[in-house]
Symmetry: C2
Subunit: 230 residues, 2 copies
């Protein structure tokens, strides 16, 4: 079993989240590290999909994962075991989101100044808390936001959680292998997302069958390439 | 289309949520109105299941529904249209939960003193925001908490969102018609829930096929009977 480091980060110190987020982004850009913040509901298949992505991209870029969970170490352990990448578990003391200050403190432990960890990381994936409300409100300092909506959740979710869809650069519609089983109108979902966020990239996928995962990897390659010309 | 009243309730005034919750509960008990707070992830099938429940119980008790949503009126409208009960939509301004003060203010509008609305309500259903984190932290003044975990979300959710399972009197495991399709171990899920909350009642169900819905109605009948001997 891969070793996963767990740290506990509870309350936030900085009042100005946006300033803290900009500072993270600037630092990561300097180090040519691209950070992607991944958000979704509980049970959308986030960890399974990330595992698939890391497996495919792991031979061409150096990836590290930070998993935020309320208490358990399940997610970081799953990703680390399946892919062999270094994963950090962040316990946030029951909070419903992660903000830029928490990311700053996590990075201080995961990639302390002088350790060379960021210099050796092309892609840093932040797996946020499973929640469609609160994480959308906090800029984490990531270069891009990716969110996962799964077919069993329903095509009305953009109407109910508009901010999440508005702040996401990539919306993956996951579990499309279950489309026959659920009453989910893919075209209606796409229209609702684009109405909130005309620039959103929308990619249907199935972490289980692997369908669509290559397209997600291509999107990530594009982002990493722009940020990370080493 | 049934008419649904929408109100907007944003920030909370009372610091002491537990006192406010006790005051709601005492008032409702005096009026012989039973309130059940229903929580779940987004897309667990909460509204569909509640519609099924209201249809079955509507001939034997007087039911009203309060739906909390960030922006849309989808849920209240769906319940009202399908069942004919009076539904109130509460918009909470993007907040991730509803607390006792918000319920107090919603009740002031939905059932003002002297209107007789509470006296004419046996069961008041509060459909909380779709979120497994924040709603668990606030006593809403309900007599019982019911939460819905759906099969596609996975059997590990009690490990990841322990507080939600700890505060719920009834855990419905919904969408069991999809058990063959997902990797969900029903017995493992039950064990994990009972480890957190040995008194939890756990009822598997499918809002789509109707399986298990009668058992949920029986549980609700029992609660309403205890609180509401008119």
């Amino acid at each position: 079993m891969a070793t996963v480091k767990t740290i506990k980060i509870e309350e936030s110190v900085f009042a100005d989240n946006d300033t803290a987020a900009e500072s993270i982004r600037r630092k990561l850009t300097e180090k040519k590290t691209t950070m992607i913040n991944v958000m979704s509901s509980p049970g959308s298949g986030k960890t399974t999909l990330l595992t698939q992505i890391v497996k495919r991209l792991g031979s061409e870029m150096r990836i590290r994962v930070m998993d935020v969970d309320i208490e358990s170490t399940l997610d970081a352990q799953r990703v680390a075991d399946a892919t062999g990448v270094e994963a950090l578990q962040i316990h946030n003391g029951g909070l419903c989101h992660i903000d830029a200050d928490m990311v700053t403190r996590a990075l201080e432990q995961f990639a302390p100044e002088g350790s060379g960890v960021l210099e050796q990381t092309d892609l840093l994936i932040l797996e946020n808390i499973g929640n469609l409300v609160c994480p959308a409100e906090f800029d984490t300092g990531a270069h891009r936001n990716m969110m996962i909506l799964s077919v069993p959740e329903g095509d009305d979710k953009p109407l109910k959680y508009p901010l999440m869809f508005s702040v996401s650069d990539l919306v993956v519609i996951n579990k499309i292998d279950t489309l026959d089983y659920f009453d989910f109108d893919l075209e209606a979902a796409k229209k609702r997302i684009l109405r909130l966020n005309p620039n959103a990239v929308i990619l249907p996928a199935s972490a289980r069958t692997g369908e669509g995962v290559d397209a997600i990897c291509d999107w990530i390659r594009g982002i990493v390439k722009v940020n990370g010309q080493r």
